[in-house]
Amino acid sequence: MELLVKDLAVQRGGLTVLEGVSFSLAAGQALVLRGANGIGKTTLLRTIAGLQPKAAGELNVPPETLAYASHADGLKATLSVQENLRFWASVYGTDLVEDALQAMNLTALRNRWAGSLSAGQKRRLGLARLMVSGRAIWLLDEPTVSLDAASVALFAGVVQGHLAQGGAALMATHIDLGLAQAETLDLTPYRATAATIRRTDAFQEAFL
């Protein structure tokens, strides 16, 4: 289980935003993506998650090891906390619902409708979904948005535990989670310049 990225270029809306990105992520490692708004952190994560095609370069990762958590938590407002997690547990074929509820401090809220949770509680449920997936490599897009300090610490502990069990995490975040083994990758040097931006041909563009 390893994520290997070499000379990767990613596109958003038909324009290359990042190019020449290279890094590797092995079991037990965490990598934090940094960079200004709009530099392409989300695009990079979505490309690695397989939601959009890469523009160039190499991307080596077994897709069945990835779990992606986007800005949106993908919760159903009219399902309870427990039902939301159970659904994802059966999609991924795991039975980690109770563990995840406990780890993200959601046990007391298990029968509440997801729609009636606060923003931070929703986020915690969204992160609990990651745990339920049982996947090794977590791709996290701004995981700490709307979390309070206590919940950030809780989440940092969960990520720590995941790494200790041989997992890995790739995250775009502005907050320091205080992970000892986390390395930082600043994306600024990889920003595509006007000279190197590849325009997609007209046929491809029709599908963007």
Partner: protein, 218 residues
């Protein structure tokens, strides 16, 4: 797969799930048409098959944009696309859930509304058979249209324009089954064609819809 089916069914029956929408619309059409056309039993009997099929089709159309739009908005479509479920299977399951929530109840309600429209007694069997054979195609074609328009805000108009022409063959053969059944002519041919439409759309459209969703998620 079954988890997705049960989730969609559960969502449909919960508050705001839109379960009764199509049924209520179908009921309204069948109740209002005799008031508009007049209570002449022979006229009603003549137009009943067409009205019932048009009503069922439009009722189906009402809830199409919900198939993927809700999942797209709250981000679960992204998560489904990265989950181990194959997108083709997810599309087929969501179309099935749509049929169980709209097409099947419409089929079961239709005989009661046939009574309101003075449908001849010998047509009831054909009414149920034609709806049972045809409405799955409506859901599947509709899911394809919804997949093409996912991500477009208020894409309902575009969706209707895309889907209506594709619904025409189903409508023609569906109403034809009942008409022929009532007059004692051979109704098996249009019924077979109806089944063929359902079978072909069920076999091919999940792939087309999954491809459309992947493109729309980029």
């Amino acid at each position: 797969m079954s988890a997705l089916l049960f989730r969609d069914l559960r969502l449909a029956f919960r508050a705001g799930g839109g379960f009764g929408l199509g049924l209520a619309f179908f009921l309204l059409v069948a109740v209002l048409v005799p008031l508009g056309v007049g209570p002449e039993p022979t006229t009603l009997a003549k137009i009943a098959p067409g009205i019932l099929w048009v009503g069922a089709l439009l009722a189906c159309l009402l809830s199409l944009d919900r198939i993927f739009a809700l999942d797209f908005e709250d981000g679960s479509l992204d998560l489904l696309a990265t989950s181990p479920l194959p997108m083709e299977g997810a599309v087929a399951v969501k179309a099935l859930a749509h049929w169980l929530v709209t097409g099947l109840p419409l089929t079961l309600l239709a005989p009661v509304l046939g009574l309101l429209l003075n449908l001849p007694a010998e047509s009831y069997l054909w009414l149920i058979l034609s709806l049972l054979a045809g409405t799955p195609a409506l859901s599947m074609i509709g899911a394809f249209g919804a997949a093409l328009t996912v991500g477009i805000k208020r894409g309902g108009l575009l969706l209707s324009l895309l889907v209506l022409p594709l619904y025409v063959p189903t409508l023609i053969f569906g109403a034809e089954v009942i008409k022929r059944g009532a007059s004692g002519a051979d109704a098996v041919t249009p019924l077979a064609l109806l089944v063929a439409i359902t079978a072909v759309s069920g076999a091919l459209l999940p792939f087309a819809a999954a491809a459309a969703i992947r493109v729309n998620l980029r």
